[in-house]
Symmetry: C2
Subunit: 441 residues, 2 copies
């Protein structure tokens, strides 16, 4: 990532800066710990997949107000010069404890804790939530799709409908973490090294004198990467045209990969198309489908017996349409020597620095989690939160994206399948340790 | 906007480039017209508000593949060198016709038409949809909130929950176009000159020995910009503390602006808080509220008689939670001399270059629209689509954001109030002209 792609300290709400000015003026310099966790008020998710940490760490390591930022803040006529000078010198010098990306977590569990002088910790609140929120939202949605697809490859096609360019890149990265095979998004391919895929849209087909001519032109241009989009005029006629050109390719020693359905009744059409391809002697040609798929539609389509081999997954996953935001919060849980708890109605927080311990059952599957004090130990349980930054410096080089993907894959395999259902809410057991409970009193 | 904040040509799906390679190889150089319009399959919106054009025009004017982009494309081993050379030289040389930002439009109406050599027009598809989509989505959602708020000021608080940083900026810009008073987002304030606002969060209150101490510290730091957040411990006690400090401020010649409620029963609490402030002799202190508001909750809260003066509007508007994507498409409607129509099931498009004419009733309100051929004229109707770019050059300097806002305001005042309802779907009449119908045959 180049410095210019960093969001910078002005990715913040004004109130973070006014609060910082108040702390500065009143000489409140204590170290504060803020805890990041997700609530689940609508019970639409049985688990979450942590993501976005790498992006956040890059922002924190490079955190500094540029001259233009300070000029802008000065123009607001809110801040005294001494405070703006302090901002100019400010770097992020704090500690970060976090779940590694790709880790499963559950409502109310902290996925990240920041400990820093309160001014620093306050200033980064919005940055933390914005960065972690979109990445975790989409990794979670993508995991549900991976489960529904039962091993069939999925590709991210969401870029045109994501909420801007950043979101497009994060959607590609987060869906890849959760096991998607690749993305159509070239920025994300370039930036993160994610495999890219894509062939043709309807415009290409209509730009040639006939569908057959368009298919032949494509096959000649990309003989090793040919997937025919067959629904521009009539899907079954399109399948027959695809078969014709695939056989012509065979004669030249090339192999067409498959066809793509993009509209209509996916179950009926995929069956008819499969028969057409099989009868043409093309049993290895794959059927791709890409029409408003999400985990529900993938599941329903496959349960109905559709012979679809892979899915292009776009809009509804790229915006997490059934649950388009993560109810993620950043709460002060410790300031100097005091553990702090907020008691606003419906918004209670757990005071103190914390650790999550994950326990397994006899079969080796995840059985329950215990949220404990940071320094506790729990027998026969795996602590999940790791120190990742100390004194503003990363403790390790960035984790390779494929290793993050493996972490998710390993964890997802250990989650009892009943929690993976996309059809109902089943609460994974999360308890708090006796010591953490005592701290709340 | 600095060049580094541009998304660039790699904000695209791979298939745009593979199609371009096919056109290049087969020497398809015709001028193509693509039409951008929104479908409304779930009937959740009675109207849309066009936004995002300025961002798009900046991208198109600066459109060029950088060396790094070409190196990346080369690394995919898909493209022949001649095509990559062509991309290196490629600039956007096309024409753009569009609705001015802030203009109301309806399902199936083109808000943008691009005419350019087909390779250029194809390459920018994803960029166009991504850019226009998020901006229009949020401007539309924001207009619904403005209607529900009945003149009370709204402020965008969404940044922490938007889908990334770009989205945060676009949400601030689009909500401002639709009439929001400002944003908490400092990046957007800096970038677009939007007024910013914000005071304190719960952390600030808990960082001081008492709520009263926190309020006094804030009032001393920002004597002209004080809004007290009163729900950290107990909202009514908080209101009394706010009144105490507001009276202390009065004695120093300062005026507290108001209090903010952020949790609990907004109707009951706002009434109690109003009484506390009034009884303290502070009838001019405002009540701000900011707890999961969207148009539905604003409407319900005000109908229940809550004496709330202004709303901080966040997550649910910043992601357009009830309809988190615009079903916006980019369809080839003319290629060289041929008008083109796509007939896939449920995805029919209108061939040809188009214009929208808006007709008014006797009261001067918008009565119906007629989608016509580009060169038609319709008596007593206002043509809405304007040429904004020709030969890759803008025809006018950027429209000031406040003028865009005025355009929306003027148009929204002319929309018959029954279409503004947030409670039901009422279809605004949109017809196609006889000549455009004939073209479809």
């Amino acid at each position: 990532m180049t410095p210019s792609s960093l969001a910078g300290p002005l990715l913040t709400d004004l109130y973070e800066i006014t609060m910082a000015a108040g702390y500065w003026r009143y000489d409140i310099r204590d170290r504060a710990t803020f805890s990041v966790f997700a609530r689940n008020p609508e019970k639409k998710r049985n688990y979450f997949v942590a993501a976005g940490l790498e992006t956040l760490l890059q922002e924190l390591e490079s955190y500094r107000f540029q001259d233009g930022d300070l000029t802008y803040l000065q123009s607001l006529q809110l801040f005294e010069p001494g405070f703006l000078d302090a901002l100019q010198r400010l770097r992020f010098t704090g500690d970060v404890h976090a779940l590694p990306e790709g880790t499963l977590f559950f409502p109310e569990e902290p996925l990240l804790e920041i400990t820093a002088p309160i001014i620093e910790a306050q200033l980064i609140e919005t940055l933390v939530l914005n960065t972690i929120g979109i990445a975790t939202l989409i990794a979670t949605k993508a995991a549900r799709c991976i489960h529904a697809a039962g091993g069939r490859p999925l590709v991210d096609f969401a870029l045109r409908r994501t909420h801007g360019a950043d979101a497009g890149d994060q959607v590609a990265r987060s869906t890849y973490i959760a096991g998607f095979g690749g993305t159509s998004n070239l920025r994300a391919g370039q930036r993160f090294g994610i495999p890219v895929s894509g062939t043709m849209a309807h415009a290409f087909v209509t730009a040639f004198p006939s569908e057959l001519a368009a298919f032949r032109a494509y096959a000649a241009t990309f003989p090793h990467h040919t997937i025919f989009l067959i629904d521009t005029y009539d899907t079954l006629a399109g399948a027959r045209n695809a078969a014709t050109v695939a056989l012509e390719m065979q004669a030249r020693g090339h192999t067409a990969i498959g066809v793509r359905l993009d509209s209509g009744d996916m179950v009926a059409l995929s069956r008819e198309v499969r028969r057409i391809l099989d009868q043409a002697g093309l049993p290895d040609m794959k059927i791709y489908a890409s029409s408003s798929f999400d985990e529900e539609k993938i599941d329903a389509t496959l349960r109905a017996g559709a012979p679809i081999d892979a899915f292009g997954v776009g809009t509804r996953v790229g915006v997490s349409a059934d649950a388009p935001y993560l109810d993620i919060v950043y709460k002060l849980v410790r300031l100097g020597p005091r553990d702090i708890r907020k008691l606003s109605p419906g918004k209670v927080t757990l005071a103190g620095k914390k650790q999550i311990f994950r326990c397994r059952n006899a079969a080796g599957l995840y059985r329950e989690d215990i949220i404990a004090c940071r320094e506790e130990t729990v027998d026969n349980a795996e602590p999940l939160i790791e120190p990742v930054m100390a004194g503003g410096r990363r403790l390790n080089p960035p984790t390779a994206l494929d290793d993050i993907r493996k972490n998710f894959d390993r964890q997802f395999a250990l989650l009892d399948p009943r929690y993976k259902t996309i059809h109902e809410y089943i609460a994974y057991p999360v308890h708090t340790s006796t010591r953490l409970q005592a701290l709340q009193a």
